[in-house]
Amino acid sequence: MDKMTTILQPDDATFPGMSEPAKSRTARPVRGLSDRTIAWLFVAPTIALLLAINIFPLVWMIRLSFTSLNLSMSYLPLRFVGLDNFTDILTDEDVWIRLQTTAQFVIWSVAFQVAIGFGLALLINRQFRGHSFWTTIILLPMMLSPAVVGNFWTLLLQPQIGPFNYLISLFTGVPPSSFSMTGQVSLAPWTIVLVDTWMWAPYVMLICLAGLRSIPDYIYEAAEVDRASAWRQFWSITLPMTVPFLMLAVLFRAIENFKMFDMVNLLTSGGPGSTTELVSITLKRAAFEKWRTGYSSALAIILFVTVFGAANIYVKALNKVKQR
């Protein structure tokens, strides 16, 4: 209300700069700009930047995906090979295995994050003393750089000197140097799921918490009056009303984990062998180690299309949540 009155009384001294309009009215031609012009002037730089940094390179890449360009042999003339790169990729069994590895990583990590995140949100929602402080502590991992996280977890997971194996051996009696979380084929895929869950469960928690808080108290009060059991209340009130939020969290995490590169690159760099080689790591190897630019452009486009499909679903879900 205060602000309103200040604006309605432009002569008010508390509003500095009010004497300026008179001056600038004659000095600057800006006065005459129509809303339409301003709208375009304001939006254009952002669109121009995105066209230059995202769209132009993308179009260039689409062109390259039809060539056999290899940057380590860039003296060769650019040769167009039609859809060869695409057929190579889609018929390559290794690529399908990488996609499976990626899918398994996405499914398991998101599943654990949802279970832990939703559980934590339910507990925090009970508003015990100090919940705000502890929530902030729990949120910290997701704010860190994935690269730094991948790096310091390699120390924590060292078989000999790392505290992780030591703690496991304290509880189970297994000698700490008898297993390696990052070096063993049977454990490495679970290790990247573990670290990703450590990092991102708070993300799901935060979104679920918003969902839980959006449920008005009177619904529970009505359920109490009807003598609905706590179990029943959970299944017919809490869960259905949190689902849109949960879906949003799942889609965000699924897209992010599908793109996963940084944390895994530093933690296992795809190994041992190729047990944790997610598709982004395959792409990086093809593009920046083997320098097969034509081939990797085609693979990148396939990934784009996949993510884009997911993005469409996401926007629909997002609108659904917004409508509430």
């Binding site: 309009p21 375009w40 940094i53 934590l120 979104i207």
Partner: protein, 320 residues
């Protein structure tokens, strides 16, 4: 936010019983303690000596030393005890510390230039993204723009692309433009990534400012731009600050583009930290020291952002 909520539900019949609260509280605190242990371990490792850091069993109690930090900031050479004995007495505490390990400081390490790169690229891209984002968000919020929804989706979709895939054509383009391994190149790239977040978040914040304020100002003879500068921006300042911090955190933490597109000149901290090596492998106390210094601003920002965190991580989809 939480305080207000706690108050509003304090006396409702759906409030959890004291016992349920205690159980919930203990479980959450247990999780919080477990989840924070890795970070505590890293902060502690930064104060260990080289041998304590790789001791078996892992040392919980140790004599703290600043060796890790000294090693992080310096390049050292190993010398014979005779050579060191002949040197003039050490000038500083860190000279002394290094000489106890039979080493002599040869010069500063690259950590300061890398840190400076992180700062310049972080703040540069944040400033640009928030500036462009504010203009675009204002336009999307207040004016009728043809195909606005499609444009907004286009802006968001640029963020959905896997960074490694984006890096392939950027690498080729930057080679042509001589932008490879330059701060300018990284600033432009991070701005492009951040501007999508900035537009979406700021549009939400500006949508919440009642239009009547500006309309009143326009009636009073303000131009659109004056109304934006003197009425809308002061009201959006919290939202702009929160957006800026989100952009800064992204640029600060970013690794994929940095590792693929920079190698020296413009390298930031995330690709640098894993390669801090001492004699015979990674120098863990120095790596931990770098990690600690790198993470401290993030922890502060998290506390500052607590209220807007939800909004930031969901691109403004959930506002609470």
């Amino acid at each position: 936010m939480t305080a207000a909520l706690a108050k509003s539900t304090a006396h409702s019949i759906v409030e959890a019983s004291p016992r349920a609260k205690t159980v919930a509280g203990s479980l959450v605190i247990l999780y919080a303690v477990i989840t924070i242990l890795p970070l505590v371990w890293i902060v502690a490792t930064a104060f260990k000596s080289q041998s304590d850091a790789i001791a078996y069993p892992p040392k919980v109690i140790f004599e703290p030393t600043l060796e890790g930090y000294v090693n992080l900031f310096t390049v050292r050479t190993r010398q014979t005890p005779d050579f060191i004995a002949k040197l003039p007495p050490p000038q500083t505490w860190y000279d002394k510390l290094v000489r106890q390990r039979d080493m002599v400081i040869a010069g500063p390490s690259k950590v300061v230039p890398r840190f400076v790169n992180s700062l310049i690229i972080g703040f540069g891209s944040t400033f640009l993204a928030v500036f462009l984002g504010t203009l675009a968000a204002y336009a999307f919020s207040r004016f009728r723009i043809p195909l606005a929804d499609d444009l907004l989706f286009f802006i968001l979709s640029t963020r959905m692309m896997p960074p490694v895939a984006v890096a392939i054509p950027i690498y080729l383009m930057y080679r042509q433009l001589n932008l490879t391994d330059t701060r300018l190149g990284m600033i432009l790239l991070y701005t492009a990534v951040n501007v999508s977040l900035a537009v979406w978040l700021l549009k939400g914040f500006i949508d919440e400012i009642p239009r009547e304020y500006e309309e009143a100002a326009l009636v009073d003879g303000y131009t659109r731009l004056q109304a934006l500068r003197k009425v809308v921006l002061p009201q959006a300042v919290t939202g702009i600050a929160a957006t800026a911090i989100f952009c800064l955190i992204f640029s600060w933490n970013e690794y994929a583009f940095a590792v693929l597109l920079t190698s020296g000149e413009a390298q930031t901290m995330p690709p640098f930290i894993p390669f801090i090596i001492g004699e015979g492998g990674q120098d863990w106390p120095a790596v931990a020291a770098a990690t600690t210094l790198f993470v401290v601003p993030i922890v502060l920002f998290t506390v500052l952002l607590r209220k807007h965190l939800l909004r930031g991580i969901t691109f403004g989809a959930v506002r609470k």
